[in-house]
């Protein structure tokens, strides 16, 4: 499981990677084999990106690249050059106010151990951007990309439904009269 510094790396071939992370510019030089997971956890201090299976199966490491969910463990860092990357750390507002998704998962108990939560929240974010009012079947399809071993999923499904509701209400509040 990744948490290593490539100090003794045999690789000399490096890539310059520039991307936007949660709205701020990032610039790194990385060996070819560096994954987005390595980069975000080790060089960008985004520990909210979780590493579990590292085979793009469990979805714990899901981040958004240009609005789409990707498995950070199985994406090369050079692939996100020029991209817009979002992690769980970017969801809450600057003042700490939780996003609709975060509020909903908190309120509906859409987590237990919490290890899958970052990934589930990012999938939810991507889904709600594509369809602000998904039905249960669509939610089920989307979150089936991620594994949760604790909740039995029902409370996660309800959390995503609630997130859509909260996000909808927020938009209404912000809509001009």
């Amino acid at each position: 499981m990744s948490l290593e510094s490539p100090e003794s790396s045999q690789e000399t071939f490096t890539h310059k990677v520039e991307f936007e992370l949660n709205g701020s510019p990032e610039r790194h030089s990385v060996p070819t084999s560096t994954t987005v997971l390595d980069l975000l956890r080790n060089s960008c201090s985004k520990q909210g990106v979780r590493a579990s299976c590292e085979r793009s199966v469990c979805g714990a490491c899901t981040v958004l690249v240009d609005d789409l969910p990707v498995a950070a463990c199985s994406t090369f860092a050079f692939d996100i050059d020029g991209a817009r990357v979002e992690t769980v750390e970017g969801l809450a507002a600057q003042d700490g106010t939780l996003s609709a998704q975060q509020q909903a998962f908190r309120e509906c108990g859409g987590f237990q151990c919490g290890f899958c939560t970052s990934g589930m929240l990012m999938v939810t974010t991507a889904l709600l951007r594509q369809n602000p009012q998904p039905d249960r079947e669509e939610i089920r399809d989307w979150i089936s990309s991620n594994t949760c071993r604790c909740t039995g999923y029902e409370m996660i499904l309800e959390s995503v439904e609630r997130a859509a509701e909260l996000a909808g209400a927020k938009q209404q509040d912000q809509a001009p009269e």
Binding site: E4, S8, C53, L121, R140, T147
Partner: protein, 779 residues
């Protein structure tokens, strides 16, 4: 849930029972929660291990010189570097830090390397030369018992086990390749003679991996005389004790720190990564060493026990249960780990939810050349419930009873003893069974097509045996509260629930209560986070500590304010007098203690009293019950089972946190659902075929039935604080048998092996048709 009365106790409490978010929720939804895998120390090294490619082989030689001289490598541990250190295990101490004389399964640890990064450590492993002499291996528990099978431990490892109470006994190494055997017996043998029918059936139970998302991980800083670890363990104090034993140090030279766990499910009880990280740190001049397994390594470290269960039951012609005899073989894998405990429970829980006049139960944990098996959600009870409940259904079919009615006829009453010397049953079993049956419309079900329904009850003694728990509560001058106790938060919501108990007792906002970080130097003693014991066992210790703190605050205030001690109360860190006058506490405390401030602190303690008449040394704290009802649709052409409805129910006794209770039952039910239909570790001649996330199938959201719900009962008979009982394992127990009976109800296929794959269901349907054909011809 139309028209169903859910038993509950009225809620007059301001905090306990509320549907409020957990205290760890903000940290977890913002990604700020700290798990062991997030721990980083300056100068930290990384460990990797070399694993055996052989299922069983003698180690002839190990040459690690090239690995030692690789740049960036600081230490290598082979059998040469563990001289004088002890092996570990529960009761049976058979697992060394790295293999010594032989390797005993594919994946057994042979050597470990610490290096400046994981890549260098992996490169160093490639340079280690091990010469093996392959030995014959055995993978199946029945085969391992045969005297012709290889002896996996030629010399019996050290073992120590408890004195049991009435009717129970246990011993290590009782037969060829048996690590531990448990027996329980009660009632007269002669009862068999009174039975009108006797049936004997054999059932098999498959093996799963825990697949907790956070792997096993440890960061260790250790010298020859002092050890500190940050580790993903469910049991900080037993871990300290075991590490003290392994390394020959005093317990006060060892400090165990436990961050949040990313799931445990029993896997994180005994040592996993700890001893290797510690030894490597000792050999690397005390630099911190991180050993974090990959998911593939987790698969090679611990599993559930597969089992073969033979059950013989005798009953009267009217369906009254009389006598049950059982023999259970658990496949414990290459090292005992928690197998003795699982054997105890699998043997003890064979009576199930029913009344028997005679019980005769034997369970053996067998050593084989497979991945070690240990604690796994509901251990022992999952295996026992599968066989016990399945046989009730087989008997019902043979004698023409409705399976639900046969259960209701024989289920124990509320308050009836489980076995002599044991705690009386503290839930109304029949009420719960009717509840789930009605929830899916069991009694009005259509008897056509390929649809069918089943119900089941799972029961286990809860709270653990001999579990002392201690807790400490302290309150600052300003009324901020720290709860200090060793309950590990692995997802179950235990920290939150215990903080709610403190807030309720001190009449304060739950936001003011913080669960202090766990480290064995400062945290009061606890026997470990398992057996669904958190709310009931630790809850009492926490409640007592909080009550004592409240009492000392009130004593101080009464004396200082010259008020009658009995007439004042605490509310939101104010003293409220009999006439409603309120006094702010901080200025009063500052005044009292000379302007420096003060912390009120008190300890609490709880343990169930031991008793020589209780078979397992102490009666259980509570009974954890799981009820389930399922409706399925089976495709007879393919054997594919679709679950149309699944309802699970547990009895919380009294709810402390609604979301937490619901999540525990539903999460457990989905473990059961997966074991019922598809999830299993598959072996071919000793080779684990699916030991990785890509090939190992755990349930996803798409696998959850469209109609899946849980009913949290509050029957109010729990022995925990406020009448609570533990939850978390009960929901797993009845799922597979309920689904199996639904399949039988739909198709006549009576399955006796898990998982119930389409192939097994299809073959079961063919066998049922052949039986019916024969019956038809014979008629």
């Amino acid at each position: 849930m139309n028209g169903i009365v859910i038993p509950f106790t009225p809620n007059d409490s301001p905090i306990v029972g509320r549907d409020r978010p957990r205290l760890d929720s903000t940290a977890k939804v913002t990604g700020r929660a700290i798990y062991t895998v997030d721990i980083e120390k300056p100068g930290m090294l990384h460990a990797k291990v070399l694993r055996s490619p052989h299922a069983h082989a003698r180690i002839l030689s190990i040459d690690a010189s090239a690995a030692r001289s690789l740049a960036g490598v600081t230490a290598v541990v082979t059998r040469e570097e563990i001289h004088g250190l002890h092996s570990y295990g529960t009761y049976v101490k058979d697992q060394p830090i790295v293999a010594t004389d032989a390797v005993r399964y594919v994946g057994d640890v042979v050597a470990a390397v610490a290096a400046v990064d994981e890549r260098t450590a992996v490169a160093a492993l490639d340079l280690i030369r091990v010469e093996y002499e392959p030995l014959p291996a055995v993978f199946d528990s029945t085969a391992a018992l045969d005297l012709s099978a290889p002896a996996i431990f030629p010399d019996q490892p050290f073992a120590a086990y408890p004195e049991y109470g009435d009717g129970a006994s246990g011993a290590a190494h009782t037969a060829h390749n048996v690590s531990y055997e448990f027996r329980y017996e009660t009632g007269e043998e002669s009862i068999w003679a009174d039975c009108d029918y006797i049936f004997e059936d054999t059932f098999t139970f498959s093996r799963m991996n825990h697949m907790h998302l956070e792997p096993f991980a440890t960061v260790a800083e250790a010298t020859a005389t002092e050890i500190e670890v940050w580790t993903s363990t469910q049991s900080p104090f037993p871990m300290r004790k075991e590490l003290a034993r392994v390394f020959g140090l005093a317990e006060n030279d060892i400090r165990v720190n436990v961050p949040l766990l990313g799931g445990g499910f029993g896997a994180k009880n005994g040592p996993k990564t700890e001893a290797i990280a510690i030894r490597l740190s000792q050999l690397s001049d005390g630099r911190p060493v991180r050993y974090c397994m990959s998911t593939e390594e987790v698969f090679l470290t611990l599993s559930q026990h597969d089992a073969i269960l033979t059950v013989k039951s005798g009953l009267k012609a009217d369906g009254e249960f009389m006598a049950r005899k059982s023999r259970v073989l658990l496949n414990g894998g290459a090292y005992a780990d928690a197998s003795p405990l699982v054997a105890e429970k699998a043997g003890y829980r064979m009576p199930g939810a029913y009344r028997w006049k005679r019980i005769d139960s034997v369970c053996q944990a067998v050593i084989t050349n497979t991945v070690p098996a240990g604690a796994y959600r509901g251990f022992g009870a999952t295996q026992a419930t599968w066989a016990s409940e399945r046989q009730v259904d087989l008997i019902a079919e043979r004698l023409g009873f409705d399976p639900l009615e046969l259960r209701l006829k024989n289920a124990k009453e509320l308050g009836e003893e489980f076995v002599p010397g044991e705690t009386p049953i503290d839930s109304d079993l029949k009420l719960g069974l009717n509840l789930v049956a009605d929830a899916i419309g069991y009694r009005d079900r259509p008897r056509s097509g390929n649809r069918g329904m089943g119900v089941a009850i799972g029961i286990k003694d809860g709270g653990g045996v001999n579990k002392p728990a201690q807790a400490r509560v302290k309150v600052t001058t300003n009324g901020d509260v720290f709860l200090n106790c060793g309950l590990v938060e692995m997802g179950q919501g235990g920290h939150s629930a215990l903080c709610q108990i403190v807030a309720e007792t001190l009449a304060c906002d739950p936001k003011r209560v913080k669960y202090a970080a766990i480290d064995t130097d400062n945290t009061p003693f606890d026997q470990g986070t398992n057996a669904s014991s958190g709310i009931a066992v630790m809850g009492h210790a926490v409640l007592q500590a909080a009550e004592r703190v409240r009492s000392s605050v009130l004593d101080m205030a009464a004396e200082h304010l010259l008020l009658d001690r009995q007439s004042i109360r605490l509310d939101n860190w104010h003293i409220v007098g009999a006439d409603g006058t309120t006094y702010e506490l901080p200025p009063l405390i500052m005044d009292r203690f000379g302007g420096t401030g003060f912390e009120f602190t008190a300890d609490g303690y709880f343990k169930v009293r031991s008793s020589s008449s209780a078979p397992l040394e102490a009666p259980c704290m509570f009974w954890e019950i799981g009820w389930a009802a399922a409706e399925v649709d089976v495709d007879p052409e393919t054997g594919r089972v679709e679950i149309l409805q699944l309802v699970v129910s547990g009895d919380a006794g009294k709810v402390v946190n609604k979301l937490g209770c619901r999540g525990q039952d539903e999460g457990a039910a989905v473990f059961g659902l997966a074991q019922a239909l598809f999830e299993e570790l598959r072996y071919d001649d000793g080779e684990l075929l699916n030991g990785e996330a890509l090939l190992y199938r755990v349930p996803l959201a798409e696998d959850i039935p469209r109609r899946f719900s849980s009913i949290t009962q509050e029957q109010g008979h729990g022995a925990g604080p406020f009448g609570t009982k533990g939850m978390g394992e009960g929901g797993m127990l009845p799922i597979a048998p309920a689904i199996a009976q639904a399949i039988a109800d739909a198709t006549g296929a009576q399955l006796t092996s898990l998982p119930m794959t389409p192939e097994r269901v299809y073959n079961g349907i063919r066998a049922a048709r052949a039986r019916q054909g024969r019956a038809h011809r014979n008629a």
